[in-house]
């Protein structure tokens, strides 16, 4: 069994190595005719000739090399046009997207020919290896139960060198995905046949790669989660739920809806986590897509303003954060081995409260700006400078939000820092939706974690394994209910408690917050609020 595990690890690492090495190989020949067909008339007029003279006829071995040259030309031309105030000629496509378009179309590397073989060498080996590594735990871990043996001796999970390597890899992946996607042209091509199942002949995009990878990672690590917590039905049901919502709502439906000419919306994604909901292009695309689009628009508003607070009142924010949400889903599967790395100090709690609520304020302000702009776009056709509110451009606000919060915080930091700061960095410090639901959960909800009389022995397993950095023990040892804005209700504190002290419960609001708890033991036990 241990052998299978070791072989699995090697197989997985081979898959990972093949996947990672793909950007370094390739063959790109851009012909003149390709430039003519790929570019829009405006683009061709601007830089068509220059591209033909500098790029075509030359062989590139990496998508990065090709793309950087294209981008240099593209940006130089744009600068020139802007300097000359030729605004109607300026090109507004993202330079990286423009380069991607050409690189994807001219990719002649082996990946585009023997795609399935490459798919097997990367995704195939990765999945098989990971499962070979994970499945033997069914036997190796012994009878069902909490098995955290060696978590703090393992350099992958104690901020040791494997953890740091993982951090660098994940952070680099997100930086490339968001800012230099053209590096991954080969990797994206791996999924062209699968994308073709949804829309024939259509090439995959970096977002398709990301969505697919996200699902695969969640399914495989979900299996690990199921084996590890197979003694707890709460964890089993919850894991099925998050994986289901990711695969069906965030991936399959988003891909399938466009097949029927409908907008590919993720119906579970709620504002303000779904921060571009009121962006002009989103509102337009929804409202112009018939009844389903209109439904999706109304649904989005209802989800955020009615369903979110209502469900949070009845079940706490866990119904979303650890049962439905994609970010939460990744944190609960891929991130589970890192949950102990969240900081439990009171200082971290202070920083958390400031930070997450500032992001919520930022999200609301950004939405007001973009909503104002979108409204003007749709209702005030004659108005000039539709995007300017209080002297600030809605485009600037949303660009900064997308960059700082949407990409850097949620992606690079949110996932990259799993092996350093625990698996809920984004959910704890940055997610505006978590902040919003947290306010509801703290002040108007039926959810709490009940402590069981006097049974706590202050061992600290609950606090150690709280991914949100809540010092659960501080409450449990006082016999005080845990009512905290940040609790995502993952239920792991209850799972790891050796004395059966903690229970996630929905119940009447009266007595939910017990600031002067009685701890059972001595007759007339006094309060223990120190």
């Amino acid at each position: 069994m241990k052998k299978i595990k070791q072989i699995g690890l090697i197989v997985f690492l081979f898959g990972l190595m093949f996947f990672t090495s793909l950007p370094f190989f390739g063959k790109y020949n851009v012909s003149q005719s390709q430039i003519e067909t790929l570019l829009t008339p405006q683009e061709f007029e601007n830089i068509g000739e220059e591209l033909v003279t500098t790029v075509s006829g030359k062989e590139f071995t990496t998508s990065k090399g090709l793309s950087q040259e294209i981008i240099a030309i593209y940006e130089a031309k744009n600068e020139e046009l802007k300097a000359n105030q030729l605004w109607d000629k300026v090109m507004w496509t993202l330079p990286s997207a423009f380069a991607m378009k050409i690189a994807q179309a001219t990719n002649e590397s082996g990946v585009t020919k023997s795609t399935w073989i490459y798919f097997l060498l990367t995704f195939g080996l990765g999945i098989i290896g990971a499962l070979m590594y994970i499945l033997p735990d069914l036997v190796l871990l012994g009878p069902a139960g909490i098995k955290n043996n060696g978590v703090y001796f393992n350099t992958a999970t104690n901020r040791g060198w494997i953890g740091i390597v993982t951090f660098v890899y994940l952070a680099a992946f997100y930086i490339i995905l968001y800012f230099y996607p053209y590096v991954m042209v080969n990797q994206i091509s791996l999924l062209d046949p699968i994308k073709g199942w949804f829309i024939e002949g259509e090439k995959a995009s970096q977002w398709f790669l990301y969505g697919f990878l996200y699902c695969i990672v969640m399914i495989v690590m979900g299996v690990k989660m199921l084996i590890k917590y197979r003694h707890s039905k709460y964890q089993i049901v919850r894991t099925f739920s998050v994986v289901f919502f990711q695969v069906v709502f965030a991936f399959l439906l988003v891909e399938i809806l466009p097949v029927f000419g409908l907008p590919g919306v993720d119906l579970k994604n709620a504002w303000p986590l779904d921060y571009d909901f009121l962006f002009d292009w989103n509102v337009k695309s929804l409202l112009e897509s018939g009844n389903f689009g209109k439904f999706a628009f109304v649904w989005g508003i209802g989800l955020s303003l009615v369903i979110i607070p209502l469900f949070t009142y009845y079940y706490g924010k866990r119904w979303y954060c650890s049962w439905v949400c994609g970010c939460g889903g990744l944190a609960e599967t891929l991130g589970d081995p890192y949950r102990q790395l969240s900081d439990k100090k009171i200082k971290a709690w202070k920083i958390e409260r400031w930070m997450i609520h500032l992001v919520l304020v930022f999200a609301v302000v950004m939405t007001v700006f973009t909503g104002y702009h979108t409204y003007n776009e749709m209702n005030n056709p004659g108005m000039g400078e539709k995007e300017i509110l209080l002297g600030i451009s809605a485009f600037d606000v949303r660009t900064w939000y997308s960059f700082l919060i949407g990409s850097i915080f949620a992606g690079v930091i949110g996932t990259g820092f799993y092996p350093i700061m625990g698996n809920r960095v984004w959910c704890r410090f940055g997610c505006p939706l978590a902040a919003y639901m947290g306010i509801v959960q703290r002040f108007k909800s039926r959810f709490r974690i009940t402590t069981n009389g006097g049974q706590c022995i202050s061992c600290g397993n609950c606090s150690t394994y709280c991914e949100q950095g809540i010092d659960v023990r501080a409450y449990a040892q006082k016999g005080q209910n845990i009512v905290r804005a940040s609790c995502v209700g993952c239920g792991v504190c209850s799972s790891v408690c050796p004395r059966g002290v903690l229970k996630l419960e929905n119940g009447p609001e009266s007595g939910r917050i017990n600031n002067n708890p009685i701890i059972i033991g001595k007759d007339n036990a006094p309060t223990l609020n120190l």
Binding site: Y152, N452, G453, G454, C459, D523
Partner: protein, 443 residues
Amino acid sequence: MKYIVIVGNGIAGITAARHIRKKSDYKITVVSAESEYFFSRTALMYVYMGHMRFEDTQPYEPYFWKKNRIELIHDCVTTIDFDAKTLKLEQQSDLHYDDLILAVGSKPNKFGWPGQDLKGVQGLYSKQDLEAMEANSKGVTQAVIVGGGLIGVEMAEMLLSRDIPVKFLVREDRFWGGILPRADADLIERQMAQHHGLDLFKETELEAIQGDDNGRVKSITTKSGETIPCQFVGLTVGVTPNVDFLRGTTLEIDRGILVNPDLSTSIPNVFAIGDCAQFKRSNGMRRSIEQVWYTGRMMGETVAETICGNPTNYSPGHWFNSAKFFDVEYQTYGWVWNELKEDEEEFIWRHPQKEILMHFVFDKDTLTFKGINNFGIRLRHEVFDNWLNQSATIDEVMTNLRTANFDPEFFSTYEKEIVAAYNQQFNKHIQLASKKWWRRILA
């Protein structure tokens, strides 16, 4: 201002310090030779197993003590001059107390076995024991544990987590025989059998421990003459009050420091709490020395009342306890003895496959519920405490069993099967009530 010195920073001493601070402005100093800060002794095993770091076992961050003006001294008390109300410390200057609380805990029992002080032979109680175990268990290919109680099974789990096979020697005919009834011990033994590398030897006692030329344990012999080669011996045959440094003073000591119902000792202004206290008169069914986390805490709460001007006797309420044996959680409320008492009747329900068992004890004549041992199901302390307070009958308990369940959501429930089995065994017709919000049944 009164100056309170507390010797010992375990759960008893620290609870006393916190409660005195809550109720008064007295100056408080806690002296500990063991550790700089309070930590949870029961969590030491998780440090060895890699679940937590040592600092994670500390329930309060360092700032807490300064904020609450509880002075901590990490030093060893060598002697106490009760007449001069003075503590002598190994390194720092003397302390002159007004009130003294002795919360000095226990040490592992050693019964004078030959070789009991060899290298690789140890108990498990203190932080130092944990450090010793870390060193002693390096390179060990066979370990022996002597004494089948809670610490013994903890130690077995710890060693198995490092792939060290364990031979577990138990004097009784079953695991934890002094406490657990036969059916309950059977369940734990079945659980142990599922863990590879653990061999339970019942009715086996230690005769002697043999060492090699380096003074390190190489084997043990049992009373029946069997020799077991091993490089590590865990002695987990209970603990005894850590009071040797106080013997020879005027303080009355038997096995522990003798205390009155209010935890005062034979010397005015000196109190003893926790593991080291021995009640002159035993308290109901309770033992005269209670070495349990919870009782240490309750004694700390009690002594704080007395010291802060509200003389209070130790009045611990209904017995409860809990533990975890490998993957099986155990809780108990009220009294369940290892052998049924004469006026008692029992009802045992065991899951046909899983390690789940409920062991109810009640009065034969009045049907008053006396206690429960439950394994693999979590039960709500408040509800059982309330039933014990109200002398509820076993029938009431059975009727409302659903409300007493504390298992996480979605867990399988067995109340139907349990009550059906109860009805069948006692020829009753109890109707299981639906689950209520638990506070309602307390009202």
